[in-house]
């Protein structure tokens, strides 16, 4: 994990330098499970090893509504702060014991005063101490190339031609998919199978 974070850091730098020159092709991602079924809300991140995470949206938010985290899966680049506005009439106690980011928003209603910053790349599992059923995921990545699949397991990512490595996650699954290497040359379709 530490190794990944390091690499993400390096890649983020490179990405910023490269991004100006040319964003060329659209890469279509099709994620399916071992049985070939399309997987929704799967998270895919591509690394070129030179483009670092850029932080254009320093603040994001995950709303708690109907005793659910909305969106359930959120992908942010490192350094992003996320607020957890409570739109339910009941109070929530949002917490995370994940190593990437440990935090606790003790019983509150409405919008907390301070958003929570996520500096470290990794998966943060969100829970509510009051409502055990509430689960949310924040994927903190140190690359600008990432996407979340739609209902059909499909996501589109704009990438320059070049060499990448990529990884996919399925929320709720502890381990990510195996990191793969790929060379992008023009628009292409990448099929990812999650274990």
């Amino acid at each position: 994990m530490l190794r990944v974070m390091f690499r993400l850091g390096c890649a983020g730098m490179l990405l910023i330098a490269m991004s100006r020159s040319a964003l060329a092709v659209e890469v279509t991602l099709l994620v399916s499970d071992a049985g070939g079924k399309p997987v929704a809300d799967a998270v895919v991140a591509f690394y070129d090893g030179k483009t670092p995470a850029i932080n254009p949206n320093a603040a994001g938010k995950i709303v708690q509504k109907n005793k659910m985290f909305n969106p359930k899966v959120t992908i942010v680049q490192t350094g992003t702060s996320i607020n957890f506005p409570n739109e339910d009439t009941v109070r929530h106690h949002v917490y995370s014991f994940s190593p990437a980011k440990k935090f606790e928003l003790k019983l509150y209603a409405g919008v907390p005063t301070n958003p929570v910053p996520f500096e470290q790349a990794g998966v943060v599992t969100l829970g509510c101490n009051i409502h055990d059923s509430m689960v949310g995921y924040i994927y903190v990545v140190d690359t600008p190339f990432f996407a979340k699949t739609d209902d059909k397991g499909k996501a589109v990512l704009k990438l320059n031609d070049g060499q990448y490595s990529y990884q996919a996650w399925l929320p709720g699954q502890n381990k990510p998919g195996v990191e793969q290497k790929i060379t992008i040359e023009g628009a292409t379709e990448v099929k990812i199978t999650l274990p």
Binding site: Y95, F97, K102, G127, N129, D132, M134, V135, G172, N174
Partner: protein, 820 residues
């Protein structure tokens, strides 16, 4: 098939068999059903117990799970887990384990092999086995089943609860020992004995804990091991003589290890109740059968009693009791049967009466017949024997019935018989007396309690009645009867002998023409001897076995031979010489005497004719019997004989006894007078022995009187005899009769007789009876000696020895001498 003496036994047996069979048919399935039911109940109990057991475990599990979940949901604990704070985790587990009374508690991390436990047993926690178990437990926990395991040789129920943050990051595992406490708890709820049995790779089957006795538990372990091997879950076993249902459930099972719970329910409590029920049923059945048996017995008795009564009645009828009417008490079939029996009885009674009438009655006269009379006499004898009284049996016979029947017709004869029967009946002495018709013209009368005087009085009365002519069919007819009387007990002790003797007396009465004769033994002759002799005698006449003997007769004064008395001898081919006294009496009774007389007359005539040819004019005397004197044709026959032989009537003398004259004096008189009229010489034989009156004799045309030899033989020694002889001679001479003396045995007597004036004489001194040829020789000699002296013709008496004197003397056939 069993044979029964009584119908009621058969009914009772049949119905009882059916009843018992039905009861057994009911009881056996009941027994089967009850034991099956007991089994079912026991099985049901086991099944219910199992459900309760499962439910209990689930409930236990649930509550333990909830308790464990409390820990798992604790934010602080989760934080400790999330931060891998091993010490905190362990202490938290420790305190919580104590709170929920778990024996084992440990935490297993989700993403690595972190295991934190409270147990001291390192191997339990960190052994590869334990880890694997834990993983398995997690998976199974998620599928919601119970999880048991054997950890460090001890069985535990494992409760696994995920720790969520909020995703599952690890599991808390709580282990609760499977021990007696659990078993007790289960038993309390299920009422089944609970036994836990386990097997590990180190140890074979062993008992973990049990609520039942140690002995039974140990037994159970072995049984269960077997059952387990056979993969059976429900089983019925007999342990220590009791039936148990076992429900075996595997709580934990791996290649080497196994933990089984055995729920065991005894069938006993169920069978106990059902057995009691069955026993009650058997008892009720038994009582029912008894009651039924009594009922059947009673009903069948009631049914068959009238039948038995009828059988009794039928037996009575069979034994001849037709008089008693059979009671008809009901209108059912038995009643009908009784009615039928009754009418049968009446019909039989009528028929039997008719048969009796036929058997015991004489149809013609309406009197009893011989059979009835015999019975009547028999019964009378019995009563009279008791009372030592006399009774008399009288047999009455109608003389000349046959010619009456023949000449006047059978109808007339029948009427006559009826009339005679009436007369006999009207004159009986008492109501109990009995009159019967024995034969065609023979009647019998039984007079009860009568002595001889009474009996003869009755006979006299009958005689008197018939002295006057009887009027039958408008015709007057003279009826003559013969009567024989026999008295009980004097003349016989049974009916047969009485009747026989009465008949013998009747014969005598007829023979002697007496109004009646009372039986006496003198009448008896040797019946058996007689019977054979009768037939022999008939043959003798035909085959010339008879011989004519002649006893000479002389003139007492001149001593000249006059002739002789013709006597008969019978030379029987087997018995030799038979003297007349042995066959003449029965010849008289049977009538053969007529033939003999005829033979004698013929032979006498032949002899006389022979002497006449020689120029000898002698006389021969022939004896006539009673029958001959009643034979009206006799004079004619004799006349014919005399003329055919060219003989003069004077040469034949006829000797008749007083008795033969007295039998039927009137008839005899007729015949005698006819004979006398023919010029025949008649002589009264054996004079002095009979009872004939001289007055009567005087009326008869008799020329001669023969003094019986009993007076003559000893007149030389007995003066009484001599005076009788003398007065008889005088008397006879006074009546103008010639006197002949028999039995002259010496010269003295002969001289004496000559002095007394006796005319003729015969006897051994003069000559014994001798054959015809010898008589010729005697004549010559006698005439030769006549002038000189008289010699005893000993040499001529070769066939007569002195011992035969008596027999010869009694000979009714004696040669008479004719005084020319």
């Amino acid at each position: 098939m069993i044979k029964f003496k009584h119908i009621r036994s058969r009914i009772a047996f049949t119905f009882l068999t059916v009843v018992v069979a039905i009861q057994l048919a009911g009881l056996l399935p009941l027994k089967y059903a009850l034991s099956k039911h007991a089994d079912t109940l026991a099985a049901e109990q086991i099944n219910v117990g199992e459900r309760v057991f499962v439910s209990l475990l689930q409930h236990n599990t649930q509550s333990l799970k909830q308790a464990t979940q409390v820990l798992a949901a604790d934010f602080a604990f989760r934080e400790a887990v999330a931060t891998n704070d091993a010490e905190t985790i362990e202490s938290a587990l420790e305190s919580y384990q104590g709170r929920i009374r778990a024996q084992i508690a440990y935490y297993i991390s989700n993403n690595d092999n972190l295991v934190i436990g409270t147990t001291d047993n390192e191997q339990a926690l960190f052994g590869s086995n334990a880890k694997e178990d834990a993983r398995q437990a997690m998976l199974e926990n998620q599928s919601g089943t119970l999880k048991f395991d054997i950890i460090a040789g001890k069985p535990y129920q494992l409760i696994t609860v995920p720790v969520k943050a909020p995703e599952t990051i690890g599991w808390i595992v709580m282990g609760f020992a499977v021990d007696g406490r659990l078993a007790d708890q289960i038993k309390q709820l299920t009422h089944l004995d609970v036994t836990f049995v386990q097997k590990t790779h180190q140890r074979d089957w062993q008992l973990v804990s049990s609520t039942s006795t140690r002995e039974l538990s140990n037994l159970l372990v072995k049984t269960v091991a077997d059952i387990y091997r056979q993969k059976l879950s429900l089983h019925r076993v007999d342990l220590n003589g009791q039936a148990y249902h076992l429900k075996i459930r595997s709580l934990h099972e791996t290649k080497d290890d196994a933990l089984l719970v055995v729920l065991q329910g005894s069938v006993e409590p169920f069978t106990q109740d059902l057995n009691t029920l069955f026993k009650v049923m058997v008892l009720l059945t038994f009582i029912g059968v008894l009651i039924f048996a009594a009922l059947i017995w009673y009903v069948s008795r009631k049914t068959t009693e009238p039948i038995a009564a009828l059988v009794n009645d039928a037996d009575n009828i069979a034994m001849g009791d037709y008089e008693k009417e059979i009671q008809v008490n009901s209108t059912d079939e038995v009643g009908h049967l009784a009615k039928a029996l009754n009418s049968m009885r009446e019909a039989v009674l009528q028929r039997s009466l008719r048969i009796q009438r036929l058997a015991f009655n004489d149809e013609l006269t309406g009197l009893s017949n011989r059979l009835a009379f015999n019975q009547g006499v028999h019964q009378a004898i019995m009563t009279h024997a008791d009372n030592q009284q006399k009774l008399s049996v009288i047999v009455i016979n109608i003389h000349r019935f046959k010619p009456i029947n023949q000449t006047l017709g059978r109808d007339f004869g029948d009427d006559l018989l009826r009339h005679v029967g009436q007369v006999l009946k009207q004159n009986v002495l008492s109501d109990q007396d009995m009159v019967a018709r024995l034969d065609a013209d023979e009647f019998a009368v039984l007079l009860q309690q009568t002595d001889q005087a009474k009996a003869t009085r009755y006979a006299d009365k009958i005689q008197q009645v018939f002295e006057r002519p009887v009027s039958v069919q408008g015709q007057a007819i003279d009826v003559r009867t013969g009567i024989g009387i026999a008295l009980y007990p004097d003349h016989g002790l049974d009916e047969e002998s009485l009747l026989n003797h009465a008949e013998t007396a009747l014969q005598e009465s007829r023979a002697k023409k007496s109004p009646w004769i009372v039986y006496n033994t003198a009448l008896e002759i040797d019946q058996s001897e007689t019977l054979t002799l009768i037939s022999d005698l008939k043959e003798a006449i035909q085959h010339d076995q008879l011989l004519l003997y002649i006893q000479p007769k002389i003139d007492v004064t001149t001593r000249r031979a006059l002739g002789g008395e013709a006597l008969i001898r019978w030379v029987h081919p087997e018995k030799g010489m038979i003297f007349p006294d042995q066959f003449i009496p029965f010849a008289e009774q049977t009538g053969v005497i007529s033939d003999i007389t005829n033979w004698m007359l013929l032979r006498a005539c032949q002899v006389l004719a022979g002497f006449k040819k020689q120029g000898l004019h002698i006389t021969l005397a022939v004896n006539l019997s009673t029958r001959d004197l009643n034979n009206m044709e006799l004079p004619e026959q004799i006349g014919h004989l005399l003329s055919s032989h060219g003989l003069d009537a004077k040469s034949l003398k006829l000797e008749i006894t007083e008795g033969s004259l007295m039998q039927d004096p009137e008839r005899a008189e007729v015949v005698v007078k006819k004979l006398a009229a023919m010029g025949l010489h008649l002589s009264i034989d054996d004079f002095g022995t009979g009872y004939s009156s001289l007055a009567y004799l005087r009326q008869l045309p008799v020329q001669e009187l023969k003094i019986d030899r009993s007076f003559v033989m000893f007149m030389d020694k007995n003066s009484g005899d001599a005076s009788i002889v003398k007065s008889t001679i005088d008397l006879a001479h006074n009546m103008g009769l010639i006197v002949v003396a028999e039995g002259i045995e010496n010269e003295f007597v002969l001289n004496q007789l000559a002095k007394l004036g006796c005319n003729e004489g015969q006897g051994y001194f003069i000559g014994k009876p001798m054959p015809e040829k010898d008589f010729s020789i005697w004549l010559e000699r006698w005439e030769g000696q006549n002038e000189i002296d008289i010699d005893i013709g000993d040499d001529l008496s070769y066939d007569i020895n002195p011992l035969e004197i008596d027999q010869q003397a009694q000979d009714p056939f004696k040669l008479d001498n004719l005084g020319e």
